[in-house]
């Protein structure tokens, strides 16, 4: 028998455990009984039975069209979402796509979101000390040359001159030698480095090549992750103390997880494909539920039952990879020709089906609506027959 941590007697436990309730509901029954001290076993039984019958009532009936119900339950509140790409400066001044555009982006399973971001949690002393947290910031945020010093072009000598800022170099933990080395590797030029001064130029004196070099120089990522353009550091309250959390503009989830000081057990990003690649399909499913739920909750529509979102996420991850809801994904991979044609680009589907001689078995709902047959849902799937015996017993098949 399962352990019950509530202060109720054994008979009460027996009657509650005897019901067909899930664990959490049983626990709630215990809690209620505990709060009302002195409830008799009969009363406990009555309560448990009442909860059980209500629970069984609210379960989905066999042949219920759960998909259609989910579509409506998400679609109706969806009409109240903000239509325009409203950038919301909520968490730490980072713009994140919200509302309808974000929801569409999620169910369309876009390869990259409009505004990719990561929430990077830190571990150990990196999370508690600002200095340490900043170390991680410099390892994540892309450092370009303009952040390290001044670049000038000497047209007379055909040279690019960089005056690095010593304090910045120290702060970002990169040396002038390293900077010079990176420039040589990525531009294929010889550099002359003296202290914090770096100089280089094109092999042949050419004004065009010189400008070209400066352009390319600006693009080089000297430190950090190329995709991450900005990192915001924020102190967040915890139950026991506080910790530093990083929010990034741009994301490279796999790279970020490898960085020292990053808590690889909590860090997340808002790109479901990156999560799929790095953490697997189950994590992607969780992320889809979490993201859709947050998007709705942000707009005050958190009364959408999470089961609908879970169904969407289950469908999107059913084949082991993320599929979009729509003609390129789930609807487009339906077995039935008529169901596919009824969704979008009707003529193409019918034409291709005709060319390939496809057969439609009329098993699904849509195709039966098209041909005017009863659909196999609810009472449509049950055959009823009147009993012929005189005793009045009717039989259902």
């Amino acid at each position: 028998m399962t352990n019950v941590h509530y202060n109720v007697d054994d008979d009460t436990i027996a009657v509650v455990e005897d019901t067909d309730l899930p664990r959490r509901l049983k626990d709630e029954v215990y809690e209620t009984l505990e709060a009302r001290e002195g409830a008799t076993v009969e009363e406990a039984d009555e309560l448990a039975k009442a909860v059980e019958s209500r629970y069984l009532d609210t379960r989905v009936d066999p042949l219920d069209p759960v998909g259609t119900v989910s579509a409506q339950s998400i679609g109706e509140p969806g009409t109240q979402l903000t239509m325009n790409t409203f950038h919301y400066a909520g968490v730490a001044e980072i713009d994140v796509t919200q509302g309808l555009p974000r929801l569409i982006e999620l169910v369309d399973a876009r390869k990259t979101p409009d505004t990719p971001m990561m929430t990077v949690y830190l571990e150990g002393e990196y999370a508690t000390e600002r200095e340490k947290a900043h170390e991680v910031v410099w390892n994540i945020e892309a450092t370009k040359i303009l952040a390290l010093g001044d670049v000038s072009t000497n047209v007379a000598d055909m040279r690019v001159q960089i005056a690095l800022n010593e304090d910045t170099l120290e702060e970002r933990m990169i040396s002038a030698e390293e900077v010079a080395g990176i420039i040589e590797d990525s531009l294929g030029v010889k550099t002359v480095q003296q202290g914090t001064q770096i100089e280089f130029g094109p092999e042949e004196p050419s004004y065009r090549d010189l400008l070209q070099l400066v352009e390319e120089l600006r693009e080089i990522t000297f430190k950090g992750i190329e995709e991450v353009s900005r990192v915001v550091i924020r102190r967040e309250e915890l139950e026991d103390g506080e910790e530093f959390v990083l929010y990034t503009e741009g994301s490279a989830f796999g790279d970020a997880l490898e960085i020292e000081g990053v808590d690889a057990s909590r860090t997340t990003c808002n790109n479901i494909h990156e999560i799929h690649r790095n953490l697997g399909i189950e994590a992607a499913r969780e992320a889809i539920i979490e993201e859709t739920n947050n998007t709705l909750a942000e707009q005050g529509l958190d009364d959408v039952n999470v089961r609908h979102l879970m169904l969407v996420a289950d469908m999107m991850t059913n084949r082991g990879e993320i599929e979009s809801i729509g003609r390129h994904g789930i609807s487009g991979s339906k077995e039935s020709v008529l169901a596919r044609a009824a969704f979008e680009v009707t003529v193409n589907h019918l034409l291709n089906a005709a060319i390939h001689g496809e057969v439609d078995d009329l098993d699904g709902v849509t195709e039966n609506v098209i041909v005017g047959k009863p659909i196999k849902l609810g009472t449509g799937d049950v055959d009823l027959r009147m009993g012929s015996t005189t005793s009045g017993n009717s039989q259902a098949d």
């Binding site: 664990r23 490898e258 690889a264 997340t268 953490l279 697997g280 992320a287 289950d314 082991g320």
Partner: protein, 75 residues
Amino acid sequence: MVDVSQHELVPEHTVLEDDTLEEVLEEYDIDRTDLPKIQRKDPALPDEAEIGDVIKIVRDSRTTEQAIIYRLVVE
């Protein structure tokens, strides 16, 4: 290398033994190919999992305490 199974988004994955698999398929009255799929290259997959194996996944569910689901390893 990062240990993927430690991440809070990743539930527990284990390879299902053949005899327990029979019970599961019987209970749901389905073939193993009717199960949801998981790719061979999925990072959360246990190392010993081969194509054709069935993975048992124990999720912390939002609607109940724990939810057990199964996925078939595919190419």
